[in-house]
């Protein structure tokens, strides 16, 4: 499995993703500059967190027009794995590769903290090493993490098992108190209908070593 970590101007989780994959897990990973358009040889593309283009206009609104994104869309259409984290999730929604949108946190502040996620769907390439119902401890760090979709879209997501992660208690209970940003139905991550494009707000690359607070994130990189 060869991983490509996309780098847009303003991205900053690229280094952390590379570190988790390469230094911690020993995987084969390379950076892809947003102006490069050759994605051959990659099996999984990662769109990392950060403030691409300063989050100007809306997070991801400008990055989705970057030269590499047309290739990412082609890559996804051909079944390649695409993993959007935080700003990456926002870019995928702006590009239409995932439904819905990420709005400003309901409390209108940036929030950086550890959260618990319940795995809702373990039948994806990203959750194949987790169990349904398993609780993972992974941090969030964002201003705009409030997942929103209209009622029809939400219904479709639920019906198709496209909701992959929900914010929950350490015991796995999905409650209002555990929702850190107002996301509808405590949705922390979703997958497309085809099952090859995933977006999540929490940062698995930050949960890569016990020294840093936990290593649950390591389970989520497709193998």
């Amino acid at each position: 499995m060869k991983y490509g970590v996309l780098v847009f101007p303003g991205t900053w989780s690229d280094g952390d993703c590379h570190y988790a994959l390469s230094s911690v897990l020993g995987r084969d990973v390379a950076y892809i500059w947003h102006k490069d358009v050759d994605l051959s040889g990659y099996d999984c593309l990662i769109l990392p967190g950060g403030f691409s283009y300063g989050d100007y206009l809306r997070p991801g609104a400008i990055a989705r027009f970057s030269p590499v994104m047309a290739e990412v869309e082609r890559f996804a259409a051909n079944g390649g794995l695409v993993f959007g984290i935080c700003n990456g999730f926002q870019i995928l929604c702006e590009a239409g590769l995932l439904p819905g949108a990420l709005l400003r946190n309901s409390h209108l502040q940036y929030r950086c903290q550890w959260v618990n996620l319940r795995v809702e769907n373990a039948n994806t390439p990203f959750t194949s090493r987790s169990r349904k119902g398993q609780v993972l401890r992974i941090p969030i760090s964002h201003y705009e993490g409030c997942y929103f979709a209209d009622a029809d879209t939400l219904a479709e997501l639920e019906a198709n098992n496209q909701v992959v992660f929900r914010y929950c208690t350490p015991e796995g209970e999905v409650t209002e108190q555990t929702n850190p940003n107002g996301a509808l139905r405590n949705i922390a991550g979703i997958i497309n209908k085809r099952g090859n494009v995933l977006g999540m707000m929490p940062h698995p690359e930050r949960a890569c070593e016990p020294l840093l607070g936990g290593s649950d994130g390591n389970l989520l990189w497709p193998v």
């Binding site: 101007p9 303003g10 900053w12 989780s13 280094g15 952390d16 570190y19 988790a20 230094s23 967190g49 950060g50 403030f51 283009y53 300063g54 989050d55 100007y56 502040q109 940036y110 929030r111 950086c112 903290q113 941090p139 760090s141 201003y143 940062h203 690359e205 930050r206 890569c208 070593e209 020294l211 840093l212 607070g213």
Partner: protein, 733 residues
């Protein structure tokens, strides 16, 4: 024709200084030249009132690579071919006018000081002071500053790993916003901000130049002002996205061999960047303002040279390499223009096309007059220092619990989680100990090491005894590092004071520095960089003398770090340090519960050193489960915090020979509360005995209550609620 007072006021120069300029130049300065003198000879840039005093600081150590004043920040060797670059700076006056942008550009400015040396910024910290939150204007400033720090820092992808926030009436019109940045670099890439080599080119990179911030940091910081409203245009506006691009591009640039130096544009903009780098290089420079890209029309040479538009860097490029440099910056979509060159004539020459509008010897601009003013112990100090305990009623045991809850919930002591959860404190995957303990701990990838970082300062102590207060600031920072398991390495400081032309204030400045310097020498920690912010006063009311110490520590083995939280039920809780003394002088208890700011804080630096050594040795031997410094609120608060953060109860007794209020809330110095497994006690006793440090049993970690025999027994949840919710309640939440 004699220059008018109005013009002198605009450039914040005294008539005597103007006369000195005329004398040294041999003529009257042109308007552009006068503007350049005004900014470079300002207090902020010139350190006129502080430079002579700052010489008291020890500034070198075996590990220091770059000392005070040599470059934009200080640097220390941490082994493995690596160096840490560190600096702290104030942005007080802009934040009082426009809190969001003032704080944001404060972060931006300090980050530039770090990456201009080729170091990747890896951590931020902030030390903040505001007036009481009961006042709407102070809430406005507080919220604006916190949002500004978050808005700028989070966008850059640099973790904000801690700091401190205090509230006091004296800061009401004069908030303090001190921003610290730390960078990591392979020592071989350390880049200088030196313009040398005749014919080498000066290139300006980053944002275009506008009229924002004219006379900003330099003019604002050089005098007190009564009417703040009209000064809003003097506050700079930040663009963190642009800065992020600059960081990546500059870090890439320094690894090539194309440049002689790199200098960021901060206070006094292009004037200080070009003159200071020329001064360091012993050369001159020639700049054509028409080559500077502008964002506004009709800008005069004066405006171009003094603009404080943010996110701009000056690159001193080796002749012949300019196209390579330009290509690199263009890859990052950054604007890059040749604006001048390095000369050998030692002159700072500014032209507008063919017309020379300024031509001054660099040495003259970079050599402002330095003042040593009269210092006299303030008449009110003796009265302030006398605390008559006989007239102060002690606490009755039944009052102890409620008093503890009030202290824990007071904004100065309460948890600051409301603030730091708004800052990304994890990005870059180095944060081992996040905000909420005594010091932040960041591991160094590729090594077994970690660095520790803290900021500390107590204005109230310095007000009551500047010398002791200064020493205590240094000692407390080192103590916090010791609690995390790190050996103190270096200091960067921010000295925040009132108007130094007043003998009272100059006395405070001098004595604080003297006290700090003494503690630095006893504890073996040099000051490698720093900043002075004077004139923090409004309508004659100055802030407390508030020196803030930012201190860096090193631990050889990251796994041997320690935090403030109790870890295990059954552990023993001990006090390292003394209980001799009352410790109520300048205490939070005295101020909050008795409405008094009185007494004379003291510190025994020899004891402090031994206590820190004991704590460090114990942590290195893996004996301790927690270590927490006793500071604001005293012993009861320290033990309560360890319990609440750990989520584990405490049962025990505090040494109580004299007054109850002193036993619970006295702020005697050099004390650390530790917890450890019972089987490790004999070894801890051995170490304490070896260092002649008193060791007193306080109790055990147990249950879900916080109980001190003879005076209080509270459910841990209630104690936790008081501490966790204090700040939000004060904000009206």
């Amino acid at each position: 024709m004699p220059v008018s007072q109005e013009i002198l006021d605009e450039v914040a120069l005294s008539r005597a200084e103007y006369d000195l300029i005329v004398e040294r130049l041999g003529r009257e300065p042109t308007p552009v030249e006068l503007g350049m003198f005004g900014s470079l000879w300002s207090e902020h840039c010139g350190y006129k009132h502080s430079k002579l005093l700052l010489k008291m600081f020890p500034s070198t150590s075996p590990r220091s690579l770059i000392g005070v004043g040599q470059e934009n920040a200080g640097a220390v060797d941490i082994g493995d071919g690596l160096a840490v670059v560190m600096k702290m700076e104030s942005h007080n006056h802009p934040s009082a006018i426009e809190p969001y942008e003032g704080a944001a550009t404060g972060v931006g400015g300090i980050v530039r000081d770090i990456f201009t040396m080729g170091a990747r910024p890896i951590a931020l910290m902030n030390s903040l002071r505001f007036g009481p939150l009961s006042d709407a204007h102070n809430r406005y400033l507080f919220n604006g500053v916190v949002a500004g720090i978050a808005g700028y820092g989070n966008c850059l992808g640099i973790p904000d790993v801690g700091g401190e926030i205090y509230f006091d009436q004296v800061y009401s019109q004069n908030p303090l916003v001190n921003a610290l940045c730390l960078g990591l670099i392979e020592s071989k890439w350390l880049t200088s901000a030196r313009a040398s080599g005749q014919g080498n080119l000066l290139m300006l990179v980053g944002a275009d130049t506008g009229r924002d911030g004219l006379h900003g940091a330099s003019g604002l910081a050089s005098r007190t002002f009564e009417e703040q409203k009209e000064l809003r245009s003097a506050v700079q506006v930040g663009n963190p996205f642009l800065e992020k691009l600059l960081i990546e591009a500059c870090l890439e640039l320094v690894q090539h061999d194309w440049i002689v130096g790199l200098q960021d544009l901060g206070a006094a903009g292009l004037t200080s960047a070009s003159v200071e780098s020329a001064a360091r290089g012993g050369s001159g420079m020639d700049i054509d303002v028409l080559k500077v890209p502008r964002r506004e029309q009709g800008m005069t040479p004066y405006e171009v040279m003094l603009s404080e538009s943010q996110e701009r860097m000056l690159v001193i490029v080796k002749k012949g390499c300019e196209n390579k440099v330009k290509t690199l910056f263009e890859r990052w979509d950054l604007r890059c223009d040749i604006i001048g060159q390095v000369t050998a004539d030692g002159l700072a020459r500014v032209r507008e096309g063919d017309v020379v509008v300024a031509e001054i010897p660099v040495k003259l601009l970079s050599d402002p007059p330095l003042y040593r003013l009269p210092a006299s112990k303030p008449a009110w100090l003796r009265g302030a220092q006398s605390l008559d305990l006989a007239t102060l009623p002690d606490l009755a045991p039944t009052q102890a619990g409620p008093a503890l809850l009030r202290l824990l919930g007071s904004p100065n002591i309460a948890s600051k989680q409301h603030v730091y959860r708004q800052y990304d404190h994890q990005v870059q995957n180095n944060t081992v100990v996040a905000p909420g303990s005594d010091a932040a701990v960041l591991r160094i990838k590729g090594t077994a090491k970690a660095i520790s970082l803290t900021t500390d300062g107590n204005g109230r102590y310095c007000y009551l005894d500047p010398y002791a207060g200064g020493a205590i600031a240094v000692a407390e920072a080192a103590r916090n590092l010791a609690c995390s398991g790190a050996q103190p390495l270096a200091i960067t400081d921010c000295l925040n004071f009132g108007n130094p032309e007043k003998p009272d204030v100059y006395y405070q400045l001098k004595e604080c520095i003297r006290g700090m310097a003494h503690a630095c020498r006893v504890l073996g920690v040099p000051v490698i960089s720093g900043n002075v912010s004077l004139y923090n006063e409004t309508r004659g009311q100055a802030v407390y003398p508030t020196p803030v110490v930012g201190m860096l520590g090193l631990m050889e083995d990251v796994t041997k770090h320690c935090t403030a939280a109790f870890q295990r039920a059954g552990d023993l809780v001990y006090l390292l340090g003394t209980c001799d003394g009352v410790g109520l002088a300048g205490s939070e208890y005295l101020a909050l519960e008795q409405g008094l700011v009185k007494g004379r804080p003291t510190i025994d630096l020899a004891l402090e050193k031994r206590v820190q050594r004991t704590c460090l040795a114990a942590i290195r031997q893996g004996l301790l489960h927690s270590a927490h410094d006793c500071s604001d609120g005293g012993l009861a608060v320290a033990v309560a915090e360890s319990a609440v953060i750990g989520g584990l109860g405490f049962k025990g007794r505090l040494p109580m020979e004299g007054r109850l209020d002193s036993a619970l809330f006295g702020e005697l110095q050099s004390r650390i509360v530790v917890s450890l497994a019972p089987e490790n006690l004999p070894q801890l006793e051995k170490i304490a005995s070896k260092h002649k440090v008193p060791l007193t049993k306080l109790g055990t970690v147990e249950g879900k209550h916080f109980a001190i025999a003879g005076c209080l027994d509270l459910p841990l949840d209630e104690v936790g609620e008081a501490w966790r919710g204090g700040l939000e309640r004060a904000l009206g939440g």
